[in-house]
Symmetry: C2
Subunit: 463 residues, 2 copies
């Protein structure tokens, strides 16, 4: 195994290839075949996929090849092979959600975002591993940079498939930290959009889940997001993700704020040092970087973040508990012990408890909104260090906590519903650690533009 370095790692990039598609020197079918070759090589160890539909993918890639040859691609992502997290329905593959209760579940429907991707010409290659129902209980996927470590969760397979260069992009979902954290651990870029900005289709049952995009490059990330937003819009009642039809240009921020969250104290020394070096490099570029002690509004925001991890867990546990109850009522073994513990926690709550959590969430949202005139964006580690080791539960012993890592740096943006973009700007101990940029609600393109500037300007930190 070679130590990861963001300077040397070359992610798979789709947008770069489209010039060759247009020029006739490469084709979407050839691109797909290269993806399949990588997949055949890496999958036995990485285990990112639940199911593949290679025949349909080849047909779709051939159709895309014909469109590029005719000079009539459906979109800039026409021909892009994409993985779909196995929580989202696809009409040609089962949707099993990493959960025994859904084994063989095959509703033969396309999620709104999947439908939009097909309309844009993308090639739906397969379903990627998710933790059970998007929760804590892990699937079999390993970290592409160290097979003894977790790829993160819950979008484990999507993050790992992109990092292993099997596909240039994949859809994930985040309710706590399920897109940004695994992308941090896997050295991807990723967008967790403004809550509601990408239509969740059938997955509307919780108030914080969001469809997000894992990609090798920020250009591909944005193109996938905007091509979905243009076609599938946002959640019912919510404005769609909007922004330029091309990747936003790099934008140099004037003022960034550091968001510490309740995870700051637990950050290991090497990871904190890597983050502080990023801050120093930003300052060296003339960017003002505010710390919490330097601005009362930033301090007030941080104060409101204490307890957010528990608050978001309680909100989601409550919102999922009829689903979980029904599954357990049908079959006591339908969900894991980890998911049962979440259900037991929710069963102790009342609607009034839930309402108090919502009030707390509103307070956090208000304190974040108050930062709009203070900072162009907030930055933070995208995870508390690089991917932790994971060797599985021990039979007969209680499930180990947090097998896919800790979402403590991600629950603020999830709770607020604010967009977050992670970029692979650090290596710690030979493994990736992302830096996230979080902006005000609806400012997805702005967050992307700042992240792009950082990615193109700041020399990566290898700690």
């Amino acid at each position: 195994m070679t130590a990861y370095s963001p300077r040397d790692f070359h992610p798979l990039r789709f947008q770069l290839a489209t010039t060759a598609f247009a020029g006739g020197t490469d084709t979407p079918r050839a691109f797909l075949e290269r993806c399949l070759a990588t997949l055949a090589e890496r999958e036995p160890v990485v285990r990112a996929w639940v199911v593949l539909n290679e025949a349909a993918a080849r047909d779709a890639a051939d159709a895309s090849t014909a469109r590029w040859a005719a000079g009539r691609p459906l979109s800039p992502i026409d021909g892009m092979p994409v993985g779909i997290k196995d929580l989202l329905e696809t009409r040609d593959m089962p949707t099993q959600m990493g959960c025994p209760a859904y084994r063989g579940n095959f509703p033969k429907r396309d999620n709104a975002a999947v439908w939009a991707l097909r309309e844009a010409g993308a090639v739906i290659l397969g379903k990627t591993v998710t933790t059970e129902l998007g929760g804590a209980h892990p699937g079999p996927t390993t970290n592409p940079f160290d097979q003894t470590r977790t790829p993160g969760g819950s979008s484990s397979g999507s993050a790992a498939a992109v990092a292993a260069r099997m596909v240039p992009a994949a859809l994930g979902t985040q309710v706590g930290g399920s897109v940004i954290r695994p992308s941090s651990y896997c050295g991807n870029v990723a967008l967790k959009p403004t809550q509601g900005g990408i239509n969740r289709g059938e997955r509307q049952a919780t108030s914080m889940s969001t469809t997000g995009i894992h990609a090798g490059s920020i250009e591909d990330m944005w193109l996938v997001a905007i091509e979905i937003g243009k076609r599938a819009g946002g959640d019912p009642g919510r404005p769609p993700l909007s922004g330029p039809p091309v990747p936003p240009s790099a934008r140099r921020p004037m003022v960034l704020g550091v968001m510490e969250t309740e995870g700051w104290a637990a950050l290991d020394d090497a990871s904190r040092s890597a983050f502080e070096q990023v801050v120093e490099r930003l300052r060296a570029q003339g960017v003002t970087v505010l710390r919490r002690a330097e601005h009362p509004m930033l301090e007030a925001f941080e104060a409101s973040l204490m307890g957010v991890q528990a608050m978001t867990s309680a909100i989601t546990g409550w919102e999922n508990h009829w689903l979980f109850r029904n599954l357990v009522a049908q079959n006591p073994d339908a969900i894991s012990a980890r998911s049962k513990a979440v259900l037991a926690m929710a069963e102790r709550m009342t609607p009034e408890d839930y309402r108090l959590h919502l009030l707390r969430r509103e307070e956090v949202r208000a304190r974040h909104a108050a930062l709009a005139p203070v900072v162009d964006a907030l930055i933070a580690p995208a995870s508390p260090g690089p991917a932790p080791a994971w060797s599985g539960d021990v039979p007969g012993q209680p499930p180990k906590p947090r097998p896919t890592g800790d979402a403590v740096f991600n629950t603020p943006s999830s709770g607020i519903g604010a967009p977050a973009v992670t970029i692979p700007l650090c290596a710690v101990g030979g493994l990736p650690m992302g830096i996230q940029v979080m902006a005000q609600v609806q400012m997805d393109a702005h967050a992307t533009a700042i992240a792009r500037w950082m990615l193109e300007t700041i020399d990566p930190v290898v700690a």
Copy 2:
């Protein structure tokens, strides 16, 4: 057939019976048997039910009987037989949604509100007829007061089952006018709660659908609503319906506003006259009744309602169109020609069109909120007259428009997300016509208290 009069019609009332349950002179099992006897008599013509689970209902009624005998009922609605609209999932009965695509669909899950009803001891008797997917295409149910007329839709079976005294209460859902309109046509009371106040469980896919309650009495209506709210809470991210644990006391309003909507001009003379007589009787009780010409804020609100019918149709059509697309993709005959027309309309929309409708909706909401200091509530006919005749489509000809009546008086509260209560205060041509009370968002108990005062104070109008 006898002409309907609100003075002579005696609805089935559950709350009244509970004194006898407590005193040992009546039992929930006997109450259920009386319901089943009525059902056996009326159902061949009314056709309110898709499926019954009489065995499970009898078991539940026996368990309730034991609890009342022991002096330990689970709630004031312990033992109440309830019908469930066939859009909502029930673990012991199929959920077929009035749609060929869902024939035999049996997910064996309880909707959150159904789960709450069971926890409160209610007896889940069966599934009631819905129009196809809650849209315009009708089921077989007839109006209990005139079998040549529609019961209204989409909650056709729930409204008719209550009006035929088969059950004291039933759950419906409203996205345009699907609770208040059929209750108006059937002489029931009904609550369409604040949007999001009653947890919709698996039915979160549209931004205006709401679970509502049809009942014979305002006391039963409130008790069902609050017992659900106490247990299942609201939609994800939304505060639960809240208010007193007992039916709100009658509250005399000081100022009511008349809401004309874009349906006013089309109101037939007899129905308009009946409504104006209600207004006169309110004034005779010392209530100030404002008309649009008398207050600029009321006029501004009315102006914003022009086009709301089309706006709400477009929003819902868009929000449902992935569902509809997937159904048609699986089987071209999966949905009716009426539903296909809705899909075709939505396919012509873009996310930006949808976003513009949402902006318009915000404007209507703002203008309604501005009325908070002006009127205690708004009143309006709950439907444009009594139930229209319905004799079915003619094979080979295009589907007739609006087979279950016109939602024009209901789309304002649906679009705004405001609570509405209808009460059976008029008879027009020997058929029921409801009067609705619409209050500010979250003021469900306030709307109920005013409606209760009107029901107890205003002499019904027979026109």
